[in-house]
Symmetry: C2
Subunit: 268 residues, 2 copies
Amino acid sequence: MNKKAIGMFDSGIGGLTVYRAIKEKIPRERIIYLGDTARLPYGSKSAETIIRFSEENARFLLEKNIKIIVVACNSSSAHALPRLQDLFSIPIVGVIEAGAEAAAKCAKKRIGVIGTAATIRSRAYENAILEKKGTLEILSRDCPLLVPLVEEGWVEHRITRLVVEEYLLPLKDQGIDTLVLGCTHYPVLKNVIAQVLGPQIQLIDSAMTTADRVLRMLRNMGWLNPADEIADDEFHVTDFPERFRKVGEIFLGRKIENVEVAGPLGRI
Amino acid sequence: MNKKAIGMFDSGIGGLTVYRAIKEKIPRERIIYLGDTARLPYGSKSAETIIRFSEENARFLLEKNIKIIVVACNSSSAHALPRLQDLFSIPIVGVIEAGAEAAAKCAKKRIGVIGTAATIRSRAYENAILEKKGTLEILSRDCPLLVPLVEEGWVEHRITRLVVEEYLLPLKDQGIDTLVLGCTHYPVLKNVIAQVLGPQIQLIDSAMTTADRVLRMLRNMGWLNPADEIADDEFHVTDFPERFRKVGEIFLGRKIENVEVAGPLGRI
């Protein structure tokens, strides 16, 4: 089991923040990544469609030699995780549980949660946080423009700062002490978000917390890879590898070379 | 033939500007609209994927009682129109030809073309305009943030104005006298675009020019509907009718009541 890879899927490219966090925490693990770039984004779509797409992604990964699946997409984790865990016997980890745990631990009174429309609508963070600490107050807000701003490469742009202010100042005014970055694109905007909110508000980056969780799970199961040398990671996309390579640089700070096109994954 | 409906598809919701323009020009025609909301947007995807999705959309419409197909999506018109016209014997109209014709007629020297990344990459407007008037100069620019801004409902928002300035002032500075709104979402932003560019620059709205073209074609073929009373239009989506109804209001100024969910359209 130890030498098998970590399988990971995302609606597209944002999951690379989770990829990066896991590579930093557990550099000896090999990762097989699938980005569903033909059907992205998931954040504006319905629960049923997100579940169907997620199941197809998981089936693609299960044909590879993997030991665990990381659902590196908040919208997918929010809606599809229970269904995937019912269907498949391999361990499947989403990004929400770890983020919610860290938020509940860190928050004093009032937590802000931001994410895509699908993630916020699901109340997945809200439920997971309240399960751990029922006395917290939670304010949720969907921020649909942040993903396209990151993909446009406007990470340090003055307009991005204005959009972040528009979305987050009302949460700040309502006195949140902690903010959950509930979408895998948002860690790319961590600097501007921190500038807008100031040092008093703690940011929870669910890419980092998920990497911690994966490390803990693999260690507990005795499944960590002991090898010094590992094979190259694999990147698969359902469409347009050129764009994945290019936009991927915003997330990893380097070009991604070996991107392969996965065939059509299912019906629709 | 006269009593058959006009079939129309779009990647999602933007095609409603074309729907609206046709309803204004030819109110007696019945329209059957398909929005591929499960797989939107098309503008960030590859030519191959846009062609495959478009073909599946056309096949869905061909099972209805229609006399013509309007491809009410610029990305799809730019990449898939020749393929659809090869495959199917029914008349198929895109949005680019009519816009290019109007632009070539109206422009003096220099035309700006804005659209999604896929539309701009295709050079479809450029080629169509130069075919009509080879002496024109064409400056193209993709504007990926305008679609999400419209769908967020920020039509009159100060941030939208700043984004429009960021994208369009360089074209203004380079002396364009005409601008083609090469995406079906952009007519919704016509006011702010006109404010940023000033009255000297003529805007070409391809929803309006396409409606003119459809009217002309139906009249020439003797296919206009002579009836005074027509059945209700139909709206089909591949996902999430609630969101279509809600965001549709931004485009039509009214709620859309009868939205039905089409089944999965094909593989992927």
